[in-house]
Amino acid sequence: MRSVIWKRHNKTANSKKQRPSSSRPGRSMAFFLSFTFIFSWIFTLSGCKKTNEKSLSIFACDTYITLTCAGKDANKAVKEASDLLLKMEAKFSRQKEDSEIAKLNSSSEKEPVTLSEDTYYLLQMAKKYAEETGGRFDPTIAPIMDLWGFGTDNMHVPNRQDIEEAVKNVDYRKVHLLSNHRAYVEPGVAVDLGGVAKGFIGDILMQKLRNFNLKKILLDLGGNICAWTSSSELSIGVASPISPNSLCCTYSLSGNKVCTVITSGAYERYFVQDGVRYGHIMDTRTGFPSDTDILSVTIIGSDGARGDAYSTALFTVAPTDAKTMANRMGLDCILCMDNGTLWVSSSLKGKVNAQDGWTIEYFD
């Protein structure tokens, strides 16, 4: 009883004390409103403040690579990712003499080489993609690339006979994977993982980076984009194959999903001889640069290595076959045609926006 009375007394005393300080309730209301207003502005402003973002650009894998991370661990994440990238490049690059692929290319049935787990797995994948695309993507294209001189200072149209000879050795079945991570190639066969390695490296880097406390990951491996964000939307542009430094369409990617956007086209790496343009993506059956109405193929998905291999394959087939192939494989893709049409998988409806001068036609 006593305590209840005391409490009651106390409460009334308190409220009496407070009263004079805000004699009219209107005034406290005014303060309340103004403070709400100020705080809401402060929150809006703090939203504009940039989070810790770290970006690093390096020349590696025969291209220009930019790694960008945002979030608490950004500095550490970018550093570790670039270290890992250089390690993988050293294994996969055919041009580096002591790389595992260079060693594989000088192996034979009698002297197979032992590969690291990564390289062995990537070779397995490359062979699988080659099989699935009926050899349209083929990791053994290296001898043809050498004949044409791509990747060197001396790009030229080679002798037809030489091509016919070299194209016989373009066959992924001539790469043999043995037990215990050992492998060898048949005589005259050379492996170049250029069509799949960048996609694969992107996947591995993304896997590693997802372990860090980050809000955004954006990897640009020479035009192969791997992206992830915790919440907000990202917009990825697809380069126009006709005019440089402009886009043919944009793709908006929703939060919290790893997404790779990979484009293959011959609009950058090409040379002109006697008025004819020769691109760097080869038709694996003829040994000549692929020449169809498709200017570029963009594949969107979670698996970068697969996207990398398939975009190369789709680029070399006839446009209608490319559509059929994309459907059969369940690929989300954008085929950029030379008449200004973008053929877009209907599964991408609502996510792709065409830029001026381009029109979208959905297919399924």
Partner: protein, 154 residues
């Protein structure tokens, strides 16, 4: 019994009267604070906007090292920037309007094919020379190519 009585008593006392109204003084305080905020925020937006439109810098790097970084407005007349290294040479055209790679010793000439660089986000990369030429803006949005997208697949 006493307890519940007491509580209901105090709560009726604390509740403000229903028909209160702003006095002119209250309205003045609210108005003044809102106005101050509006002026500050408006000023910030205008400040950002002005900077966004104006500052375009050209940044030339070789192997990650910055060779040149200049506000395009400083090029009162066009000039050519020459890079000589053991990898080869390049000539870059610079003016207040645009930047482009005029000549490069590389074989593929991808950098020359990039054409004219005019807006923040535009860039040309020469792999053999390890040279990157970029247009960047002075404000924080510089990373966005063309200011519209986060990255470009090519």
């Amino acid at each position: 019994m006493h307890k519940t009585d007491g509580q209901s008593n105090t709560s009726t006392k604390k509740r403000p009267p229903r028909n209160f109204r702003f006095s002119s003084g209250d309205a003045f305080i609210v108005g003044a604070i809102v106005l101050c905020c509006a002026i500050i925020i408006g000023g910030l937006f205008i400040h950002r906007h002005i900077h966004k439109d104006d500052a375009r810098y050209v940044r030339i790097t070789q192997d990650g090292k910055v060779l040149l970084e200049m506000d395009l407005r400083e090029f009162s007349e066009p000039m050519e920037y020459r890079i000589d290294s053991d990898r080869g040479h390049m000539i870059i055209y610079l003016s207040s309007e645009k930047v482009y790679i005029k000549e490069s010793s590389c074989a593929d000439k991808i950098c020359e094919k990039e054409g004219e660089l005019t807006s923040p986000g535009d860039g040309a990369v020469c792999l053999p020379n390890r040279v990157v030429v970029q247009i960047v803006s002075g404000n924080s949005d510089e990373g966005n190519p063309s200011g519209k997208v986060d990255a470009v697949a090519k």
